[in-house]
């Protein structure tokens, strides 16, 4: 995947970043992703169903996530399962790197230890 494609997508909206994060552990259905986001962010990112699916649709269109086969033992009511695409992995990594660089910078400048 060309590097500039990935860079063009940064910085990510927090919701998008968290959704990508939730899929990093494995494929999930929509509601599972929402719950994953909620738990991982300790409730700080409270995604409602409507906005969540707007993001999901854009991410599908952009090629960050894709539809995957539903595991055989899962109730079909839960809807489609989704997984990260290679681009999704790249973007997640790039955003993570960007954030950690920012965090490192912040630390070096002593912003966090002040008060």
């Amino acid at each position: 995947m060309p590097e500039q494609d990935v860079v063009a997508l940064l910085p990510l909206k927090p919701a998008v970043f968290h959704i990508l994060l939730s899929l990093a552990q494995g494929d999930l259905h929509g509601y599972g992703m929402m719950q994953g986001v909620r738990e991982a962010s300790s409730g700080h990112v409270d995604l409602k169903t409507g906005p969540f699916y707007r993001h999901l649709k854009r991410m599908l269109e952009t090629g960050l996530v894709r539809e995957v086969d539903r595991p055989a033992d899962v109730d079909s009511r839960r809807g489609t399962y989704y997984g990260l695409t290679p681009l999704g992995h790249d973007v997640l990594r790039a955003e993570g790197r960007r954030l950690s660089e920012l965090l490192g910078l912040t630390r070096r400048l002593g912003v966090l230890s002040g008060g």
Partner: protein
């Protein structure tokens, strides 16, 4: 998942476009249902929050999907993922959606402001819309006839009563009037008839053949009447209603030309259209409006050879000649009326002299006025008052916005300083105003549609045209227009006020004044004074109607209404050999039913009290036989059966009532009431006196004399509000050749019970079926229901006025609370200073309360004056209470004052808790 929640989510899903649903529908639904379940577990608050956010989110996202559908796979990478997508073609729309969302969010942070605004608008719009719907249906909509504004009711009035038209009057007016283009007369009657084995009460109209042409309506099938239908020897014909056609013939298209009932000589010649309704002016003078819509019309001939000016038994409807006015018609008819007494004299009738003595005058008024009557005035006043209340409510909400703009002044100034354009500020307020007013409008519509439905349920059966009632498109448009206009105005007022926002002075805190500008406070207080005044007027109206209601309840109707059920039995005349046999059959039924357990007394009768269904007759006594032509006094005449008076709990003052034995042969006994005795035989013994119904010498009933066997206490026969009149009670049996036989086709069985009356209804029905399975039982009502029916119009007006009063009161109290609370807010610093200087809580409280009570007292004073003027329109509905009833005014005023003080108390209490340090340091 509750089925309701499931359905709601399903409905919400439809907001998304089809392709979105196909791709994500299952996932979205599942997620929503899971969220719903979780919210429900956490309680009602989270559940409500869930529905609000879900509705809003789905609406917003669905709209967005529909508006900006990006084809999958296009190279719009990055957009939306990092937030840059918004700057697109749909910026404005997206922005609007966002503005509305922000407005909602801001409002949810200040729920008091939002709720006050929405409820104020909702109540105002709702109440106005509901009353306007009623008004529009009953009054504004024209009657469903061609050029209906030219239709008039024609009748007569005398000293004593409102009367119809005699046949001589019809001929005179129809042939010689220049102001009436056409005149039709009719009478009403009812008959119970089986259709598919169900008893059905038919409304019958006998009319001159020109009625339909006069109303400018034609038949849907076949024809209406022609003059040839009433010539001597013509075939007997009938025109039927759409409803009767459907019920009786199942909508048979070939009904024209068939006999109306199998074996009948009368042929159906026409079927009226489905939307045809024969709207009759008012309770018929003679019969009362016994049925809602007529089923069968029969033509009658009015023959010169049998006409006279007496016996005003017909109702008249006419069409004014082009150019003629009501006044001209009245003048002309007055002249013609006097001529008629000489032109038509068959069997006597009135003379010019007797007309003058009784102050007889023709009555001509537009059909619409006659139909709508007194209710119209009440509705107009309600409408007027409520419109003002709505205006004030809107002004109040506008005020709320101004206050808010002021409290946000500093924020606005900061935003302006940071570069926010006036446009974006305007959008902010507009979004808020629109959101609030649209929500208010939605609430208002809900209140209105609920209100109209409630009104429909309460409306008296004889209130004209109520079946047409609904929230109609005009009203809907009206409410929407009001709420949208209000929204734009609310949004713009603060923007206009912020025109002279100077960011420097504002941020510097130059508004460190101690109190608010005086003039603005005055305007607001004037509005509140108005609200209090209107609330008082409406409350006084409610009070007067409540007292009317109470007086009606306490009227002694002359009978007891406890534990009596009436059963109307339709007895086919052909089953019996005349009236006498029918009466004996009724006696047999009454006796059998009397043996049922729980039944204490039975009786039968043709008439019932307070059902407005009585005749007036001329009653002769041997020493007062009316001269031929003279009409004497009209006396109420009731046809009663055996044991009737004791069954209804009337008080027998002397002698006895009709017993079963009287009906062994054609009975010749009568009972009279006390009013009759006082009038005819003051100081004499009435028992044994002779009376007779008197029409004229040709009348077969004319020479039948009845012997008075008893005197009964006065009973209100017509309605609760009408004083008892001199009344005679005659046995409900006629000579075989009597004219009257045709009218009395129903007999009523009265059953008095030991326990609750409704418990025996089933067993009585069974017993009657056992006696004769052919008998149709109908009209099962308790006497209490009859009495309640007599109070319906008052109840109806009362409920309407009370609803309006409550709305006005609620708005007034919110207004007072708002005004006082605002004053307190403005004077916080002043109170802080005063408290710092040693003012006690009492000082502060009374200072605030004084302001509130001044507003309240001014409003009450103005309202009292207004009430004395405005409640006059209720006059005709009031009973047993004066329009200027001091106790009502006093109680209402005192109660309102207390409420006003309470509304001021909360902010006053808050004022006493002002922390001086904070108050003075806050800018």
């Amino acid at each position: 998942m509750s089925p309701m929640g499931h359905r709601l989510i399903g409905a919400l899903m439809r907001l998304y476009p089809q392709d979105f649903r196909a791709r994500f529908g299952a996932g979205v639904t599942f997620a929503l249902e899971e969220e719903h379940r979780a919210a429900r577990r956490r309680g009602i608050g989270p559940l409500v929050a869930f529905w609000i956010t879900t509705a809003w989110n789905t609406l917003r996202e669905g709209l967005r999907e529909r508006l900006f559908r990006a084809p999958v796979g296009t190279s719009r990478r990055g957009l939306e993922i990092n937030g840059r997508w918004e700057r697109g073609v749909g910026e404005m729309i997206t922005q609007t959606i966002r503005d509305l969302g922000l407005a909602l969010r801001r409002m949810s942070k200040r729920p008091a402001f939002a709720v006050a605004g929405i409820v104020t608008l909702g109540l105002g719009i709702g109440a106005t819309t509901a009353v306007f719907s009623v008004l529009n249906t009953v009054i504004l909509r024209p009657l469903p006839y061609g050029q209906s504004d030219r239709l008039v009711l024609v009748g007569h009035r005398s000293d004593q009563s409102t009367l119809g038209i005699p046949n001589g009057g019809y001929l005179e007016y129809q042939n010689r009037s220049g102001t009436l283009a056409d005149l039709a007369i009719y009478t009403e009657a009812t008959a119970t008839f089986p259709i598919n084995d169900e008893p059905y009460e038919l409304g019958l109209i006998r009319t001159t053949p020109n009625l339909f042409e006069l109303l400018r309506v034609s038949a849907a099938r076949g024809r209406t009447f022609v003059p040839e239908d009433v010539v001597e020897g013509a075939e007997s014909v009938t025109v039927i209603s759409h409803g009767f056609w459907q019920r009786m013939y199942g909508g048979d298209p070939d009904v024209i030309g068939k006999p109306v009932i199998e074996g009948s000589q009368t042929l159906v010649v026409g079927v009226m259209p489905e939307d045809f309704d024969f709207i009759r002016p008012e309770a018929s003078v003679v019969f009362g409006n016994a049925f809602e819509a007529p089923d069968l019309f029969f033509p009658i001939a009015i023959r010169e050879s049998e006409a006279r000016f007496g016996n005003f038994m017909y109702q008249g409807i006419a069409r004014l000649a082009p150019g003629a006015t009501l006044e001209e018609a009245r003048t002309e008819l007055y002249r013609l009326m006097r001529d008629a007494t000489e032109h038509y004299t068959y069997g006597g009738g009135h003379t010019r002299q007797s007309l003058d003595e009784g102050n007889y005058v023709p009555r001509v008024e537009t059909l619409k006025d006659a139909v709508v009557g007194d209710v119209a005035r009440v509705l107009w006043i309600l409408m007027g008052t409520l419109s003002l209340v709505l205006l004030i409510a809107a002004a109040n909400v506008a005020n709320l916005f101004v206050l808010r703009a002021e409290s946000l002044q500093k924020e606005l100034a900061v935003r302006t300083a940071l570069g926010a354009s006036r446009r974006s500020l305007a959008r902010w307020f507009l979004a808020e105003g629109l959101t609030l007013s649209v929500l208010g409008g939605v609430l208002g519509l809900a209140i209105a549609s609920f209100g109209t439905r409630a009104v429909l349920r309460l409306a008296p059966g004889d209130l004209p045209r109520m079946d047409e009632l609904g929230v109609d498109p005009v009203v809907l448009g009206f409410a929407l227009a009001v709420s949208l206009t209000a929204g734009v105005l609310f949004g713009l007022v603060p923007v206009a006020r912020s025109r002279n926002l100077d960011s420097v002075t504002l941020t510097m805190g130059a508004n460190r004044t101690v109190t608010d500008g005086r003039s603005r406070g005055r305007t607001r207080e004037a509005l509140v004074v108005g609200q209090v005044a209107f609330a008082l007027i409406l409350l006084v109206g409610s009070g007067l109607l409540l007292r009317t209601f109470a007086s009606l309840r306490s009227v002694d109707p002359g009978f007891g209404d406890s534990n009596v059920v009436t059963f109307k039995l339709a007895l086919d005349g052909s089953q019996f050999d005349g009236e006498l046999q029918r009466a004996q059959f009724m006696l047999n039924v009454a006796d059998r039913v009397a043996e049922l357990p729980g039944v204490t007394h039975t009786a039968f009768s043709a008439d019932l009290p307070v059902d407005g269904n009585e005749w007036s007759d001329v009653i002769a006594t041997p020493d007062a036989i009316p001269e031929p032509g003279a009409l004497g006094d009209n006396t109420l005449r009731v046809f009663a059966g055996a044991r009737y008076l004791s069954a209804i709990g009337a008080e027998l003052v002397r002698g006895r009532e009709f017993e079963a034995l009287d009906f062994a042969d054609y009975p010749r006994v009568a009972v009279v009431n006390q009013a009759f005795v006082e009038k005819r035989w003051p100081g004499e013994d009435p028992i044994g006196q002779q009376i007779a119904q008197w029409y004229d010498e040709q009348d077969p009933q004319g020479d039948v004399w009845y012997t008075v066997v008893g005197v009964v206490g006065d009973i209100r026969e017509r309605s609760l509000v009408q004083e008892p009149e001199p009344t005679v009670y005659l046995p409900t049996v006629f000579l075989p050749e009597s004219d009257f036989a045709m009218f009395v086709t129903n007999q009523t069985l009265l059953v008095q019970t030991a326990g609750p009356p409704h418990e025996i209804i089933g067993s009585v029905r069974e017993e009657i079926r056992a006696i004769d399975s052919q008998i149709l039982v109908d009209g099962v009502r308790t006497l209490a229901q009859l009495t309640a029916g007599s109070m319906q119009q008052v109840t109806f007006a009362m409920v309407l006025v009370i609803i309006s009063a409550v709305v006005a009161l609620a708005l007034g109290i919110v207004g007072i609370y708002g005004a006082v609370a605002y004053t307190v807010g403005q004077r916080t610093r002043e109170f802080g200073v005063r408290i710092a200087l040693g003012a006690t809580a009492g000082n502060i409280r009374s200072s605030v309360l004084r302001r509130g009570s001044t507003i309240g007292l001014t409003g009450i004073a103005i309202g009292l004056g207004g009430a004395a003027l405005v409640t006059r329109v209720l006059q005709s509905l009031l009973f047993g209470v004066s329009v200027v009833d001091a106790p009502t005014y006093g109680v209402v005023a005192a109660g309102l004052l207390v409420l006003v003080l309470c509304a001021g108390l909360i902010p006053a209490q808050r004022a006493t808790r002002v922390d001086p340090v904070r108050a003075m340091s806050a800018d």
